[in-house]
């Protein structure tokens, strides 16, 4: 496995050193990028790059809570661990879908738990697929939808990117088993984690990026079940049920 990309937001130099050691003194290879403020972290942010963010809540300038709130507008699922001295912001944690809540002083065990989450996240990040005999790495978590256009697959990514590759949906679909994809149409495959609703009249999935993905009339019922299944499963998984 490639090394994990970890972002560390901490304005206390001593604490930063300590955390970096804790993260790197482990068997899992990890690369730490440090930031001393929320502003610098957001300024350098690239979607899909990091596997985990450790965020101090009491930062100079923009607070950790505010930084994560803005991060969520850019990438809604990336795991974040709050590092703090008090539990005051537990409720902000729920709201911002913070995966871990680490109280100072940070122990190796806390870090191990957090890194395990990051590894799991990384596992879901890329899928190796074979299209027309060619190997391809797909940043699966950011893949919103795939559309078949003649002999090409048009892939739309979170953040506005588009890519195309020669291939057929019929060969891609089985290779994405295990990821929350739903074949809603002969020519469309939708990532359920980007679905925000179903328009029964237009027969489409409304996606997070404002685009629509067509649903065949006879698959509408299945589409709804698949989506709600996924909603419920995510709520259970994310919140640790």
């Amino acid at each position: 496995m490639e090394e994990l990309q970890i972002a560390l937001c901490e304005d206390d130099k001593e604490e930063l050193k300590r955390l970096t050691h804790l993260i790197q003194d482990r068997p899992t290879p990890a690369r730490v990028t440090a930031f001393d403020s929320g502003e610098s972290f957001l300024g350098d942010y690239r979607p899909g790059y990091y596997d985990m963010v450790f965020m101090d809540i009491y930062l100079e300038g923009m607070s950790g809570v505010e930084t994560v709130r803005r991060l969520r507008e850019l990438e809604s699922e990336l795991p974040v661990a709050f590092v703090t001295t008090s539990r005051d912001h537990a409720l902000d944690g729920y709201r911002l879908k913070v995966a871990k809540y680490i109280e100072k002083p940070v122990t190796q065990e806390d870090i191990d738990d957090a890194i395990a989450l990051a590894s799991q996240w990384r596992l879901q990040a890329d899928a190796e697929v074979i299209l027309q005999g060619k190997k391809l790495y797909l940043p699966i978590r950011r893949l919103i939808s795939v559309e078949q256009k003649a002999h090409y697959l048009l892939m739309r990514f979170d953040g506005g990117g588009m890519e195309q590759a020669k291939g057929r949906l019929d060969e891609l679909e089985p290779q994405l088993a295990g990821f929350p994809f739903f074949r809603s149409h002969k020519s469309y495959l939708a990532n359920l984690s980007y679905v925000t609703g179903i328009d029964h009249k237009l027969l489409v999935f409304n996606m997070k990026d404002g685009q629509n993905v067509y649903i065949r009339r006879d698959r509408l019922k299945k589409a709804k079940i698949a989506w709600t299944d996924w909603l419920f499963a995510r709520a259970r998984k994310d919140e640790g049920l």
Binding site: S76, R87, A90, L91, Y94, R95, K97, T196, G197, K208, T228, L231, F232, R234, A235, R236, D238, E239, G240, L241
Partner: protein, 603 residues
């Protein structure tokens, strides 16, 4: 699903082939003519001479100026008791046997003056018993409204033989017209029953009227009726007014059922037709133009209307994916084609079939198809009404329940705020007591203590939700859970302060109901636990809860409540709220764990 579909298709195919086979069977039996019967006892009189020219009937003469006399003679040898069947179309006629007049029709003054030409008339005429060859003389006068006189063949035979012959030729037409008339009357009569349920019950009225018009036309047109109803003028009016107006109710029917986007076109056509019918009637009444002449206008108008209706159905079904248009497409197309065939036959092909045969077949098919569709339509509508009714009832029940629960949760929230206030006061009390004790004013301290009503210090939990109202409700039940021995009770809800279009009490009801059910279900179970989580993302709030449960638990009233998924009033009201706000829910029970999952839209 697929099997269901296949089964339905097979059933449809079977019933269709059954229908076709039965129809074929009946047709073959009815149309079968045995060899012996070929020599009918009915004789078609031939060998007519006019101005020393030999001719055969039917025959048309044109051009003729109005009221040109045409005199035909023929030699016949009638058997005793033989009758003549004679049909005249817009021509006054005198029939003589050996110079003695036996039948006269349409001479001036015998019919209302505004009719201009005597309407089509059929009659059976008794012949004098002579036993030898006689000379028939027919004196026709050509019509005044057209330059063509069409003379129809005369038949000779005994009355019963003549009737059998005529029925075999026109029986279908007569039967068909009677069926249509009856259907029209029945449909028009049952309309009030349907309109009471729904406005679209008017479809039946228009369909009935269409059936009535078509029936009237066929009834008036059928030559058999002339033998029984001795009022050719009445049949004439019936036939033409029926023919002229039949497209009007059809267009109205189309407008009600299709609700097309381009209603204006049909509307204009309808008004045009109505005016034309009125105009034709008025012109006839004034004795200016007879209905038999205005008919040519309607030969163009009616098929055009039917084609435009079919076209509208096609356009609607393709452009707007109108379901009713799709259903009506085939029937209207059949009707349009049959009308075109009928007009084509009248002017071009001149096939040897009964007049209006094609259109009658078209109408028959149309009525069968549309009746089936209408049945479907009504069934769907009634089902929808039923559903709406049920929903309304549920909603009113829900509202009542909601109000009760709102009160309940308001009390919980108020209590929580009160306790917070009390905790705040507590610090002041401590300070005051310390002050008294430091000054050794023990009595004052005791008096102060006595004056205080000591606040209840129940077990306190950290907040589980940013939304204060939901938090209060959740903590209330967490407290209840811990007190009933459920130590493993964890609740974490990501519910924002602002709950958008969903009133906060609705969320309180969902959380409260789920937790209340869980506490009840857990109470008697081994190793009980309740875990509830809420996640809010992209405007969708998802609440999930897993808890231990026993199959059946006793409610406080002592009755048993089934814990099966979807049952129970609490779960029912959770479902109603979720569905009201664009979401849904699922309840699943596995072994000893009950899982509840709800989602709804806050935006």
């Amino acid at each position: 699903m697929k099997i269901h579909k296949i089964r339905r298709t097979v059933m449809a195919a079977l019933s269709l082939s059954f229908l076709v086979l039965i129809t074929l069977l009946f047709c073959s039996v009815l149309l079968f003519r045995s060899e012996e019967k070929e020599h009918e006892d009915v004789e078609t009189i031939s060998g007519w001479t006019i101005d020393d020219e030999h001719i055969r009937l039917p025959r048309s003469f044109s051009p003729l100026s109005p009221r040109t006399p045409l005199t035909l003679t023929a030699q016949i040898r009638p058997k005793p008791g033989d009758y003549l069947y004679i049909k005249t179309v817009y021509t006054p006629v005198k029939l003589s046997v050996d110079g003695q007049m036996v039948y006269q029709y349409g001479s001036d003054g015998s019919l209302p003056a505004f009719l201009l030409d005597p309407p089509t008339k059929t009659a059976l005429v008794a012949l004098p018993e002579t036993g030898h060859k006689v000379t028939l003389t027919l004196e026709y006068l050509s019509p005044s409204q057209r330059d063509t006189a069409t003379l129809h063949p005369l038949l000779l035979g005994s009355p019963s033989e003549l009737m059998i012959h005529l029925f075999s030729e026109m029986g279908f037409s007569l039967f068909f017209s009677i069926v249509l008339l009856a259907l029209g009357i029945i449909l028009a009569l049952v309309t009030p029953i349907f309109t009471r349920f729904d406005e679209s019950g008017m479809t039946f009225f228009w369909l009935g009227l269409f059936s009535l018009c078509t029936g009237a036309w066929s009834f008036g047109e059928c030559n058999l009726t002339g033998l029984f109803i001795d009022s050719p003028s009445f049949l004439y009016l019936l036939a033409f007014l029926g023919l002229f107006s039949l497209a009007v109710p059809l267009l109205r029917f189309g407008m009600v059922v299709l609700r097309p986007h381009t209603q204006v076109l049909l509307e204009i056509l309808c008004v045009l037709l109505e005016f034309s019918v009125c105009g034709a009637a008025l012109l006839q009444l004034l004795g200016i133009i007879s209905l038999s002449r205005s008919m040519y206008l309607f030969h163009v108008l009616t098929p055009s209307c039917l084609c435009i209706l079919a076209g509208t159905a096609l356009w609607e079904s393709i452009r707007f994916e109108n379901l009713m248009a799709r259903r009506l497409l085939l029937p209207t197309a059949v009707l349009a084609v049959s009308a075109l065939l009928e007009a084509g036959n009248y002017y071009l092909f001149h096939l040897n079939v009964q007049k209006s045969f094609f259109f009658q077949i078209g109408v028959l098919l149309f009525m069968i198809m549309v009746s089936i569709q209408c049945g479907h339509f009504m069934a769907e509508m009634l089902a929808l009404r039923e559903q709406n009714h049920k929903l309304e009832k549920e909603l009113s029940l829900l509202e009542r329940q909601t109000r009760m629960q709102e009160e309940h949760y308001k009390r919980i929230t108020e209590t929580a705020i009160q306790e917070k206030q009390q905790r705040h006061d507590f610090r002041h009390h401590i300070a005051a007591l310390r002050d008294y004790l430091e000054k050794d004013e023990t009595n004052a301290a005791v008096a102060y203590l006595n004056a205080l009503s000591v606040p209840s210090t129940g077990e306190k939990f950290p907040p589980v939700c940013r939304n204060e109202s939901v938090n209060a409700v959740a903590l209330y039940y967490q407290d209840m859970a811990v007190r009933s021995g459920i130590a493993d009770c964890s609740i974490k809800l990501d519910i924002p302060e602002e709950t958008g279009r969903v009133p906060v009490h609705a969320l309180c009801i969902i959380v409260g109901n789920l937790l209340e059910n869980a506490v009840t279900a857990c109470a008697k179970a081994d190793s009980p636990f309740i875990r509830m989580r809420g996640r809010f993302a992209d405007g969708i709030l998802t609440i999930v809860m897993d808890n231990r449960y026993t199959d059946i638990c006793r409610t406080s009233e002592g009755s048993f409540r089934s814990r099966k998924p979807g049952g129970g009033t609490g779960l029912w009201s959770v479902r109603s709220i979720a569905e009201k706000y664009g979401g849904g829910c699922r309840f699943e029970a596995e072994n000893t764990v009950f899982s509840s999952s709800v989602y709804l839209r806050l935006d």
